[in-house]
Symmetry: C2
Subunit: 196 residues, 2 copies
DNA sequence: GCTCTATGTCAACGGGCAATGACATACGCG
DNA sequence: CGCGTATGTCATTGCCCGTTGACATAGAGC
């Protein structure tokens, strides 16, 4: 696609030589493909094609499919900015986001799909679990605080993940009164979980 | 394994000729492998070996890998017995189950992993979503009842799924006081969701 | 402008997998 | 007992994917 566009436009046919940009393009394509198809279902040729690059470059820059996956994983798990959340308002904000459609937030949706798939595969699960513990559960525990953090953090994480999955599976967004009720009650649940 | 056992025992070396049992064995092995490894990561040779059968039989009975996957999917989604749940006790029962370890219930765990994987793949997602709607969300709506069923059922489903995922990801089960608190608060959340 | 290196492309190979068709044999039926 | 079909096995084939090494060329440094 990129190449075709280049052919009909006035831009040069040959790819600009920019290693950094190329790696970024490969990584972006990889995250998308891994998210949609999982590790085994994603093919290097397809990823390379999406990035507008020859497949051999993946081996040069990432040392093979494994390396590319690891890089994509590392790039997908970044610590959520829990510290920015206000205890008084976060619940409603989050509930509103969950009531919306997944397509509105494709970047995060892809990242989440990617993690979900990787977490359910025994090959990649250890990597994911370790990263999730460190970069997701850790911050959540710190943010929630209070007694019995472990139990409460787990429930919070479960609800959080469940809402994301539900949003992912569902095609039709909620409307009108149902939407309003969904937000109210979801916010109530979330709020109750951060209180000791 | 089956063959080896047969060799050292007094039972015949050659497999008993029972098409129905063979198909059931293949299907069971397939569900397990698809759950663990996804569609692309599961190999017919391995499935056949687990079932104690030659791989060619899969093609004969299920018409190829696609057919086997479809059969396994169909077999994995069966309506949950919500009608058996008692409104007063289900919350605690479910919370206790969620506090336990996934290994204690491998059959359901595999089925859930299988569905989760299938639901996040664009190829199989439509099949899964339709079946989930009919055989999971439908019964939940009916069981919950009351006003704004749609919104409340979705939150309930989200929490349910989230708890399953959390249980799946976690290796270490909760112990002692944390476990007690987890059950109490999880039960409280679940209970609140079935009340109008 | 020459050269050298980093970047990008191409063609081929080797392994592994699903699928296929020929072959073997148990079991029902006469 | 003999035959035929359903069931199970084996060897082969063809395809697809990841990887590799040789080749091409832009662009920097001199």
């Amino acid at each position: 696609m990129t190449k075709v566009a280049a052919l009909v436009s006035d831009r040069p046919v040959v790819r600009k030589r920019d290693a950094e940009a190329t790696q970024a393009a490969i990584l972006a394509a990889a995250k998308s493909h891994f998210a949609r198809s999982g590790y085994e279902g994603a093919f290097l040729r397809d990823i390379a094609a999406d990035a507008g690059v020859d497949a051999a470059l993946i081996n040069r820059y990432f040392g093979g499919k494994d390396g590319l996956f690891a890089a994509a994983l590392k790039h997908s798990i970044r610590p959520h900015a829990f510290h920015d959340w206000q205890r008084e308002t976060f619940a409603v904000e989050m509930a509103k986001m969950m009531a919306g459609h997944a397509h509105q937030d494709m970047d995060r949706t892809h990242a989440f799909q990617f993690l979900l798939r990787a977490a359910t595969s025994p090959v990649t699960a250890p990597l994911v679990n370790a990263a999730v513990q460190e970069r997701f559960m850790g911050p959540i525990r710190a943010w929630i605080g209070g007694p019995n953090v472990e139990a409460r953090a787990r429930i919070f994480a479960a609800v959080f993940i469940g809402l994301l999955v539900e949003r992912l599976i569902r095609d039709e967004p909620l409307e009108g009164r149902e939407r309003k009720v969904f937000i109210e009650r979801t916010a109530a649940v979330l709020q109750s979980l951060v209180e000791a």
